[in-house]
Symmetry: C2
Subunit: 303 residues, 2 copies
């Protein structure tokens, strides 16, 4: 069973498991695990690791349209180096400060591989929690920020030698879209973050909402860093739409409200397509320029 | 740097890091990581692992005198087996139900070793959070439940063959002392859970409160399962006081309130000693029957 099937199996057992975060009595809770082999390429500093790991959980809070309140982390490694630990905590503290949350510590564990498990807690506002299942045909399909940032970082890490490791670390330290999520909370009919990439996120949102989605390739805002590492529009779109781990928000917004909410999103909001009726049996749920957009992205279980 | 020194280093950076859980706006948050090699001996079922891992975090909530609200877990393994995952979740759900909390899911991760990271969230009551630093000379030193349960389980797991693995699993599935913690919240001057064992917990509580502690060895309530695996009173005390991972509560209670609060603790409350003045420089903080009780227990970093 790969990770995706296992997540589906879990969702069958737990009512809250299908969304970015669970909601209990107005409190949002979400947890993630990242580790060296799959998530922190050589060159990633501990400061960036702390920022990114805690940021991933804060991004899930953002995707619910909630305020970010606090985060904790488990730091596990073969041995504990005081400087590395201090830098990890500094990254965790700084990403929390970037979204007005408080980093409140965690736990340590000896482990065979550098591993971190992070949990963020947030609060639902009067606008309520935004889940993935409310998109309606006619809504605009919108995204925050610019895409392909993590893919670009990974390529730079891999080609290291060029001395751009610090640039790759910067790209890896994204700002969780908490402010944007709060602005969107009273407008978006469905929302999620893009941990698995734009293509997969569109499929997940369409499936949860029982709708179809049609996007335009050229409308997807591509991060400038992608230009430097990808040749041609096909490769740029591949990195922006399929790689994943960008931690931007993907949401459906009623057409008439797009302009209003766009002004309130600090990361910028771009309309990249439209929510349409659910396709007939056998039809593709998500089309890009009229062609099926494969439900393909970055999944630990299958590559 | 071993785990204990690293935790001390962390505590210097974060004001909340010295207690069992962090408190933010009346919400208690705590996180832990457990993994196969060090925490789940051969024979531990996935149901027990789910119960115990989530229970460890709920125990930290209990130690703050808070209500337990919800828990999440990351389940990481080399591959995902549907039955194992289902059993893990069942254990997590059941331990939450045992303390009126809700298990709300989590995340999956592919990892080289079966690893779980759990987080529990709770709420501070009108009685306030109970920290480790308020014990005063003259208070009674009390503990909940019976001790040595996890040590006995481990010995049974190791001698397996005897077909008592199910018994060891039962012993491993402790009830987090949330009800007891709530009963104690308005009485205890200091409280913590005993993840590192009774001896070490006494040292930690004494150090945080800047006091000394004197206990009587014979007063420590030993779990009946210890009788079957330990020979003589010295070995029994070793398992009950030093092994750790019993997840009972250790607390200081004003002498006059012990009888009242004892009646409200479902797990039972036993007075095992007295809080005394801080010892002179060089003196032992914790005495058992008048002899220094070594600050020794179960620590991942040094044994």
């Amino acid at each position: 069973m790969n990770e995706r099937d296992a997540l589906r199996a879990l969702a069958a057992d737990l009512p809250h498991a299908g969304d970015d975060a669970a909601v209990v009595d107005g409190t949002v809770i979400t947890t993630d695990m990242l580790h060296e082999r799959t998530d922190f390429p050589a060159g990633t500093t501990r400061y960036t690791a702390g920022w990114r790991a805690v940021g991933a959980s804060l991004s899930d809070v953002a995707a619910m349209g909630a305020t970010a309140r606090a985060a904790v982390a488990v730091y596990a490694d073969e041995a504990f180096d005081r400087d590395e630990l201090t830098r990890f905590v500094a990254g965790a503290v700084d990403v929390c400060e970037a979204v007005d949350a408080e980093y409140v510590g965690g736990d340590l564990d000896e482990h065979v591989e550098f591993t971190t498990a992070t949990t963020a807690v947030g609060g639902i506002t009067d606008a309520g929690a935004v889940t993935r299942d409310g998109a309606r045909p006619g809504d605009a399909l919108c995204v925050t920020g610019e895409w392909g940032r993590s893919a670009a970082a990974l390529r730079i890490f891999k080609n290291d030698g060029e001395g751009e490791t610090e640039r790759a670390n910067e790209l890896f330290r994204f700002t969780p879209r908490v402010a944007d999520g709060l602005a969107l909370a009273s407008h978006a009919t469905a929302m999620m973050d893009s941990s698995d990439g734009l293509a997969r996120s569109c499929h997940q949102l369409a499936e949860a909402s029982e709708v179809g989605i049609e996007i335009e390739r050229d409308a997807v805002p591509v991060h400038p860093a992608v230009e430097g590492v990808a040749e041609g529009s096909t490769e740029r779109f591949e990195l922006a739409a399929h790689f994943g781990e960008d931690f931007e928000l993907v949401c459906a917004v009623p057409e008439a409200e797009v302009d209003t909410v766009e002004e309130s999103c600090p990361a910028g909001l771009t309309r990249i397509g439209t929510v349409v009726k659910e396709p007939e049996e056998g039809g593709s749920r998500v089309l890009a320029d009229g062609e099926p957009l494969p439900d393909r992205g970055f999944t630990h279980g299958d590559g």
